[in-house]
Symmetry: C2
Subunit: 178 residues, 2 copies
DNA sequence: GTGGAATGTCAACGGCCGTTGGCCTACAAT
DNA sequence: ATTGTAGGCCAACGGCCGTTGACATTCCAC
């Protein structure tokens, strides 16, 4: 079969995202990704050069945090995070990989440092404690993703979006505004 | 060098725990563990049979949850969890590994289901909502470990034990007692 | 002191990995 | 119709892995 360069690249990237999200960095092999994309492993190298560069491309990610009213920021953040997780594999890629791969952990730090912290500063006008506040928020949101989507604790899997929002919003709200 | 069987087994197990905790299942190779233990890789197989069985032995773990007064359970749990994490590599092994290894994820589920849930039932006398409560507690505590010890978000690393207890206790307390 | 079990080493196996270089093959411009 | 080029394939490399079996060494019981 014959495709345009851009098409092939996109197909490979989609397969890579799925594999990295499902298996983590090491178990997601170039060969498996290539098989998913119905293409020779050599093509992956041609288009991305190296497994690390392919991963870097697959881990591109933007939290796309919305503007939030200060008194509803907690609920808004939890809801946005849950939906973002389910709609975009990027977060899964980063979490599955960041645990055993220092480069991915570094990217996670910059994403949360660069995207959550400014939001917190804007919401609280408290630049001094904002880094800790943002990290506390991140700890609860990532713990949610970990227990619900990765470790699959049955009660977390069974809970509805609304239940989770109801339970977690006050926590996040308090971390944001004391 | 010549050692007793039990000594050697213990040395291998200690090396395995360190490697699994630092690197996760795949990157912690039998060869590296054997090198740490200053022994031939074949000995690891002799004593443990298989990499999976070695892992199972290295991932033995008991949370050792203490008895807690209901109104101080939040603070007690956070403090206990922080100290347990730093004193015992078992939790690190499970978290680093559970993210990409289904067997470790299953063990994590049984540990939290079998140890945290009974504690929550005892504290609240509310068997119906206890599973969700326990999972919420777990989500915050695991999120704490993830952001502080694995991803190493700088503000979480810099925070003192007392600061973290002060911030997280109300969260855990609320998950436990509404 | 000699035999045998326990402890430890060594070399090799088959397998999967990332990566490379050469070779086809379809297509578009001439 | 010819040719250049871009898309794709194939076979192979060196490396590391878990695992195995044969071989060496130490120790203890008799």
């Amino acid at each position: 079969m014959r495709r345009s360069s851009a098409e092939t690249k996109a197909v490979i990237l989609a397969a890579a995202r799925e594999r990295f999200a499902a298996d983590g960095y090491d178990k997601a092999t170039i060969r498996a990704i290539a098989a998913d994309a119905r293409i020779d492993p050599a093509m992956v190298m041609r288009y991305f050069g190296t497994k690390e560069k392919l991963f870097a491309a697959a881990a591109e990610f933007d939290l796309e945090l919305p503007e939030l009213a200060p008194d509803q920021a907690g609920a808004g953040l939890v809801r946005h995070f849950l939906r973002k997780w389910e709609a975009d594999e990027g977060l899964q890629v980063l979490l599955r990989t960041g645990v055993t791969n220092e480069a991915a952990a570094e990217r996670m730090r910059t994403i949360f440092g660069g995207q959550v912290m400014p939001l917190v500063i804007g919401l609280t006008g408290d630049p001094e404690r904002a880094p800790l506040r943002a990290s506390l928020v991140a700890s609860q949101l990532l713990g949610l993703a970990l227990s619900r989507y990765i470790l699959k604790f049955p009660p977390m899997v069974a809970a509805t979006e609304e239940e989770l929002i109801a339970w977690l919003s006050p926590t996040v709200q308090r971390y944001l505004t004391e």
